[in-house]
Subunit: 267 residues, 2 copies
Amino acid sequence: MSHFIELLKTRWETSKSMLCVGLDPDTERFPEFILEHECPIFTFNQAIIDATQQYVCAFKPQIAHYSALGAEDELEMTIDYIKEYYPEIPVILDAKRGDIGSTAEKYAMEAFERYGADAVTVNPYLGADSLEPFIKHEDCGVIVLCHTSNPGAKDVQQLDVHGKPLYEHIAQLCVGLNKHNNLALVVGATQIDALRNVRSIANDMPILVPGIGAQGGDLAAVLEAGRAGDGYGLIINASRSILYASKGNDFAKKAGEEAKALQMAMG
Amino acid sequence: MSHFIELLKTRWETSKSMLCVGLDPDTERFPEFILEHECPIFTFNQAIIDATQQYVCAFKPQIAHYSALGAEDELEMTIDYIKEYYPEIPVILDAKRGDIGSTAEKYAMEAFERYGADAVTVNPYLGADSLEPFIKHEDCGVIVLCHTSNPGAKDVQQLDVHGKPLYEHIAQLCVGLNKHNNLALVVGATQIDALRNVRSIANDMPILVPGIGAQGGDLAAVLEAGRAGDGYGLIINASRSILYASKGNDFAKKAGEEAKALQMAMG
């Protein structure tokens, strides 16, 4: 079993939580006093991490929120902070990378070596050989997009291929590639039927479920359709509804309350 | 017509070339003296750009080669250098981004605002609404993966959807989204039949063709299958065969010769 999956399974049990907090910093939504700090994004994240850590099974920084601003250094600081103070919590770098083999090697270096993430999200459109350079990092998690939470998911992911939607073929492809037991899948919270289908194809493979909170997914339905046999199996992400629960000086406290409420609702 | 397409069309005619040089720096393959420079990647790129610019219709830096090393600053310097000295040559940021709308906005900021690229490559797996945040930058080019050059392309892109391979549906989706005339497609040089099919679906939409050179694509076959009605229409990328034509002090001269030979072969 990969180090990522081991971390995750242990953390599900010790935290009694399948909540993942997405660290998607949007400086326009920060409390004003944070903007005066030298590293506002890191300062914001640090407060959110401290306030929510006891309620989470994972943290998931979304890299575009850093790279759009040239803030890779603050992403590094954020992951380093989690690794130093909360090493028992896995970090998923949400980057949705995908390229041919020799370039995919570079993306794997970016995620696992440069940033030290425990897992990375990847896009399957280029096929199995584009996933292998990630998968061969046996201790790291490789979380493959299967059925996303946006309306446009239907344009490609739901296309009918030999009587089954494309996303089911992707789930099956990943089951076949899971020789190191380090794969996981992404299925959006807005797609309950897809979640149920993917769970039945993927056995107890972890499923990352974005779309709770700001995107409107239904938590009870997600739990019913997506839980694995051991009662866990899900990494249920919320970002904006937690990070921006308040724009006041109490933003971290409110984020903690929001995270706690979600953790309780998953009980 | 978008600024990107205008730049490209003008450049095809003035350079009499459809060659694109991929700026995929791999420091292990650099001549040793380059490694002594403070910014070795930028120094290498600068020499390659100066030596090949007269033979190219575009430059295409591949971002993973920078982000794996934390060298975003040298990518910025590289694009700034092209913009300052060769503003008539379009720059394609090869990043293959793809995410839901609010995150795709951030990736568009990364490519077009932070780096100032004229175009970016994107992945269509998340559907039309994941492409729109790029497309709405009307002056910028959005180059969508259709059929890639790697063997794994068959795993997903060639799956049969209602009697046609998936990549043809992607090409058609892009034709339908091309209201600002700023879209283009990626079809690998190893896939001549796919290139012919996509050309017939996409009319005169530009097609970026990686896979010449190190990946073994056949240039004459690419030209025959992929040219648009005006005799141009292709952005034929070569990276390693040009960048690493020599590991000696003559690397730039050899890169220039290699680029010239490819440009001549496209005549």
